[in-house]
C-alpha cells in the first residue's frame, strides 16, 4: 500500500510541477528559478530516499533503477545533439578561445585540487583513486550553467550576444566534461574487491566496444529516422528503443550511458539531414529528464551525518565553499581575458556576465553516473558536495549586487 501511496504522491507532485499554476508562480517570482525546477525534485528525492523517510529503498529502488540508466543516456543524447556541423562551424574564434582557456585552467586546477582534497579528506587513498578524483573534479570545474534568463533580461545586442556565447560555451564544455569524466571512470575503476585500480587497457577496450555499438545503433536509427515526421510514433519508438539499448550496452561494459548517449546524439547531429522529429522529442523532454536526474540525485546523495562525523561535514562544507569561491573569482576572470578582443561587442558589464560563476547542472548528472559505478560511498558524498557547490555558486552570483546597467 505504501508503494501505491508513494507513486500517487509522486504523480501528484509531477502533475503540479507541470501545471499552469507552477508556471505562473515561476514567472512572477525570480527567486523560484533558484529554488524551483530540479531543486524541488532533489529535495523530494532526499525526503523519500534511503537517507530520508526510506519510502524508496531496497527492492522499490531496484525497480526504478532502469529509469535512472535511461535518464543518464538521455542526458548524454541532449548534450551530443548540440554537435551539429552547422553549429560547430558557427562558433566564433573568441568563443573557441574562451572554451580552451576554461578547459585548460579547469583541468590544471583539478589536478592540484584533487591532490589537496585527497590528502585532507581521504588521506590513505591510492594513486588510482586520485586519478579518478582528478577526472571527476575536472568534470565539475569545467563549464557553467547555460541558463541566462534568471539573471535579468536585457534586449540590447551586446547583452544578447553575450547570452549566446554563454549558452554556446556551456554546451561545448558539457561535451568535454562528459568525455573527461567518462575516461576517468573507464580507466580508474573498482575491482571485485572494491579497491580502486588504474586499468587503462581494460577501460579502453570497453570504451572501444561501446563506441562500436554506438556506431551500429546510430547508423540504424539514422536510417530509420530520416523519414520520420515530428511527433511521429515511430520516432518515439526508435528513441526509446535506442536509449534502452545504449543504456544496457553501456552497463554491460561497465559504463554509464552518459558517453554512449552523447556519442549517439553527436552522430545523429552530425548527419547530413536534420532529424527534426528526434530533435523536437529530445528538446521537449529535456525538462523531464533534468527533473528525473535531480530526483535520483536526491535519492543517491549523502552528507556525512551524525555528531561523530561533524568533522567530515565541516570538511565537505569547506571544500564546497572553497570551490565556490574559486569559481566566483576565476570564471569571470577567464571570461574577461578570453573575450578581451571583443569587449566592445559584448556586454561584459551586464548581469549575464555572471552566468559562468554558476555550477553546470550537468555536474549532478556526471556524479550520478559515477555513483552507479562506485560502491565505496565516495560518489554519494561527492554528489552531496556538488549539490552544495551548485547552491553556493548560484547564490554567489547575487553578491556583490550588480550595478544597474542602462537598459536599451
Amino acid at each position: 500500500m505504501t508503494n501505491s501511496i508513494f507513486w500517487l504522491a509522486l504523480g501528484v507532485v509531477i502533475l503540479v510541477a507541470g501545471s499552469r499554476w507552477t508556471e505562473r508562480i515561476r514567472r512572477r517570482f525570480p527567486i523560484s528559478n533558484v529554488l524551483g525546477g530540479g531543486w524541488a525534485l532533489l529535495a523530494l528525492g532526499i525526503a523519500v530516499g534511503p537517507r530520508g523517510a526510506g519510502v524508496l529503498d531496497g527492492e522499490r529502488l531496484a525497480q526504478v533503477q532502469p529509469i535512472l540508466l535511461v535518464l543518464l543516456t538521455w542526458s548524454g543524447v541532449v548534450v551530443g545533439l548540440q554537435c551539429q556541423a552547422a553549429l560547430v562551424r558557427a562558433i566564433p574564434i573568441a568563443l573557441w578561445r574562451w572554451i580552451t582557456l576554461d578547459l585548460t585552467i579547469s583541468i590544471l586546477l583539478s589536478v592540484a585540487a584533487a591532490g589537496l582534497i585527497a590528502r585532507i579528506w581521504q588521506p590513505n587513498s591510492p594513486a588510482a583513486a586520485q586519478i579518478l578524483l582528478t577526472g571527476i573534479l575536472g568534470a565539475i570545474a569545467i563549464g557553467w550553467n547555460p541558463e541566462t534568463r534568471s539573471l535579468g533580461i536585457r534586449s540590447d545586442a551586446p547583452a544578447m550576444r553575450l547570452a549566446v556565447l554563454v549558452q554556446s560555451g556551456a554546451g561545448a564544455l558539457a561535451v568535454f566534461s562528459i568525455v573527461i569524466a567518462s575516461l576517468a571512470l573507464q580507466c580508474a575503476h573498482q575491482d571485485f574487491s572494491g579497491a580502486v585500480i588504474f586499468a587503462p587497457y581494460g577501460g579502453m577496450v570497453a570504451l572501444a566496444m561501446e563506441i562500436g555499438a554506438v556506431i551500429v545503433v546510430s547508423l540504424g536509427a539514422y536510417g530509420i529516422l530520416r523519414d520520420s515526421r515530428e511527433d511521429d510514433a515511430r520516432t518515439t519508438l526508435i528513441v526509446i528503443g535506442a536509449l534502452c539499448l545504449l543504456s544496457g550496452i553501456a552497463v554491460t561494459f561497465g559504463g554509464t550511458g552518459l558517453l554512449t548517449g552523447m556519442l549517439f546524439g553527436a552522430m545523429i547531429g552530425l548527419g547530413r539531414r536534420r532529424l527534426r522529429g528526434l530533435e523536437h522529442l529530445i528538446s521537449y523532454s529535456e525538462p523531464i529528464v533534468a527533473s528525473g536526474c535531480f530526483f535520483f540525485a536526491g535519492i543517491t546523495l549523502a552528507f556525512p551525518g551524525g555528531t561523530a562525523k561533524f568533522g567530515s561535514v565541516l570538511i565537505v562544507g569547506a571544500i564546497a565553499l572553497s570551490l565556490a569561491i574559486a569559481r566566483r573569482v576565476l570564471k569571470p576572470l577567464i571570461m574577461n581575458v578570453a573575450l578581451s578582443n571583443v569587449r566592445e561587442s559584448v556586454a561584459l558589464d551586464s548581469p549575464i556576465a555572471r552566468a559562468p560563476i554558476r555550477q553546470a547542472p550537468l555536474t549532478i548528472v556526471v556524479l550520478l553516473a559515477f555513483a552507479i559505478q562506485d560502491s565505496s560511498g565516495l560518489a554519494d558524498q561527492l554528489l552531496g558536495l556538488a549539490v552544495l557547490l551548485s547552491l553556493i555558486s548560484t547564490l554567489s552570483t547575487f553578491w556583490p549586487r550588480p550595478k544597474k546597467s542602462p537598459v536599451l
Binding site: 509531477i14 530509420i224 536509449l243 543504456s247 559504463g255
Partner: protein
C-alpha cells in the same frame, strides 16, 4: 504551383528502407547483443557496473522494442500484420523456441530474465486498456448496442456449445469441457486495438469489432468466475476458490476504480498543459501499481478509465489520448514480443491433434454465431462475410483465465493437462488470429 508540388515529389522519390535494410538491422541488433555478451565474458579488466540487473533489464527492453518493431515491418512486406512479426520475434528470442529445438543455450532471453520484464509488461497492459477504452465513444456504443450484444451472445452461445462438445469428447468431463469452452469464447482486446490503431482512419467496422470484443471479454471474465465457482462446488477436492461475492466485488471494483479515477484525471488534465508524455506514463504506472496493490484487474480498470475519461471530457482528454496513441506503437512492441516469448510451443506440439480439433471447432462456431448475428442485424454483405475473422485472436485475458485454473485447483490432477491444452489453443489462435483479423479489416470497405 510547381513549388508546392516539388517537395511531395521529392518525398515520394526518397529512398525508403526496404526489406534488406530491415533484415540487416535485425541481424545487426541480435548480433550486437550476442557479441557484447561474449566479449563481456571473455575480456578481463573491464569496469564493473553496480547495477547489472537494471542494465540487463533495459538492454532486453531495447532489444524487444527495436527487434519486434523491425520484425513487424519486415513481416508487413509479405502482407502479414506487424503483430505477427512481433509475436514471432518474441518466440525467436524466448526460451520456449530454443528449448523446443533442443538448443536452450541459444536463447536470448531466459525464463528468469522474462520475470524482470513484468514491470514493462504490466505497464503495456494498462496502456492498451487506456487506448482501447478511449476508442469507444458513447454515441457509437449507443447506436450499435444491439449489434454488439447480438454479436457477442451469438458467438458465446455457439463457441460454448461447439467447443464444449468437442472438449467433452477428448477430456471426458463436463466440468473441464465447460471451463475450456468459456476460455475459448474469449478474444483479444489488445490485438483488436493494435490492428485498429494500425489503420490510418479506423472504420466503424473496426470499432464495432473492438467494442464487441471488450464487451464480450468483460462478460466472460465474470462468467468464468461463476463457472469456476460451480466446478469448485461440485468438486470433492480442496480448492482455493473465492466466494462468489468476492468475484463480483473484484470485477465491480475494477470497473468502479476505473470510473472513479477518470474524474481526478479529468480535473488534472484541465490544469496541465505541458509534459503530457510524462503525465501519460505516470498515469499508467500509478494505475498498474494501484491495481496490483489492491488486487483488481489492471486491464479492466484501464479500459473503464479510458472509456469514462474519453466520454466524460472529450475535449480535455484529447491531448492525453493523442500522446497515449503516440506511445502505443512502443507499447505494442513490448506487449506482443513478451507474449511471443511466453508462448509454449512444446505444449502446442505435444497436443497438436486435440489443439487443432478444438481450434477448428472454435473457428467454425465463431463463424456460425457471428454470421447469423450479423445477418439478423442487417450488416453489410462484406461485414457479414468477414466479421467472424475479427474474433479469432486470443492473448492476455485468455492466458490469464487459463493460468487461473491452476491457481483455483492446485491439488487436482486434471489441472495440468487442461491448462496445457488451453494454453496451446491460445498459442495457435494468437498466431493465426491477427492474420485473419487484418484480412477482415482490409476486405470490409470504409463507411464512406
Amino acid at each position: 504551383m510547381k513549388r508546392s508540388i516539388r517537395p511531395l515529389q521529392n518525398r515520394k522519390d526518397r529512398p525508403r528502407f526496404g526489406a534488406i535494410f530491415l533484415a540487416t538491422a535485425l541481424i545487426c541488433l541480435i548480433g550486437l547483443i550476442l557479441i557484447s555478451r561474449e566479449l563481456r565474458m571473455g575480456i578481463v579488466g573491464i569496469p564493473q557496473s553496480n547495477l547489472p540487473a537494471a542494465g540487463e533489464t533495459v538492454l532486453l527492453l531495447g532489444v524487444i522494442i527495436l527487434g519486434s518493431w523491425l520484425s513487424g515491418r519486415l513481416i508487413r512486406r509479405v502482407g502479414l500484420p506487424p503483430i505477427t512479426g512481433q509475436l514471432m520475434f518474441g518466440v525467436f528470442i524466448g526460451p520456449s523456441f530454443w528449448s523446443w529445438v533442443n538448443r536452450p543455450e541459444m536463447t536470448l532471453i531466459n525464463a528468469s530474465q522474462l520475470v524482470s520484464l513484468q514491470g514493462p509488461e504490466s505497464l503495456a497492459v494498462v496502456m492498451i486498456g487506456l487506448v482501447a477504452g478511449a476508442e469507444i465513444d458513447w454515441p457509437f456504443l449507443h447506436k450499435k448496442l444491439r449489434v454488439i450484444v447480438t454479436l457477442a451472445l451469438g458467438q458465446i452461445f455457439f463457441v460454448v456449445i461447439g467447443v464444449g462438445l468437442i472438449s467433452f469428447v477428448f477430456l471426458d468431463s463436463i466440468a473441464q469441457a465447460v471451463v475450456l469452452a468459456t476460455i475459448a469464447a474469449t478474444c483479444s482486446s489488445a490485438v483488436s486495438v493494435a490492428l485498429l490503431r494500425e489503420m490510418r482512419h479506423p472504420t466503424d467496422f473496426a470499432r464495432l469489432l473492438l467494442a464487441t470484443t471488450v464487451a464480450k471479454d468483460l462478460c466472460l471474465v465474470l462468467t468464468f468466475s461463476v463457472v469456476l465457482f460451480f466446478v469448485a462446488a461440485s468438486s470433492s477436492a480442496t480448492t482455493t476458490h473465492q466466494d462468489w461475492y468476492r468475484v463480483i466485488l473484484h470485477l465491480a471494483g475494477s470497473i468502479g476504480v476505473g470510473i472513479a479515477l477518470a474524474y481526478p484525471l479529468r480535473w488534472a488534465l484541465a490544469r496541465i498543459e505541458r509534459r503530457m508524455t510524462a503525465v501519460v506514463l505516470l498515469t499508467a504506472i500509478c494505475v498498474a501499481i494501484f491495481c496490483s496493490t489492491i488486487g483488481i484487474a489492471p486491464l479492466i480498470t484501464a479500459l473503464t478509465l479510458g472509456y469514462t475519461a474519453r466520454n466524460v471530457a472529450p475535449l480535455t482528454t484529447i491531448s492525453f489520448f493523442a500522446t497515449a496513441r503516440r506511445l502505443f506503437l512502443a507499447v505494442c512492441c513490448v506487449f506482443f514480443a513478451s507474449a511471443g516469448a511466453h508462448l509454449d510451443l512444446a505444449a502446442l506440439t505435444a497436443n497438436w491433434g486435440v489443439v487443432f480439433a478444438i481450434s477448428a471447432v472454435r473457428l467454425a462456431a465463431i463463424w456460425t454465431g457471428v454470421t447469423i448475428a450479423a445477418r439478423v442485424n442487417g450488416l453489410s454483405l462484406e461485414a457479414t462475410r468477414w466479421a467472424w475473422a475479427g474474433f479469432i485472436p486470443q492473448a492476455g485475458i485468455s492466458l490469464a483465465l487459463a493460468a487461473q485454473i491452476a491457481v483455483e485447483f492446485p491439488n487436482e490432477k486434471w489441472v495440468s493437462s487442461l491448462a496445457t491444452i488451453a494454453v496451446a489453443c491460445i498459442t495457435l489462435n494468437e498466431m493465426i488470429g491477427p492474420i485473419l483479423m487484418r484480412i477482415a479489416l482490409h476486405k470490409v470497405p470504409s463507411d464512406k
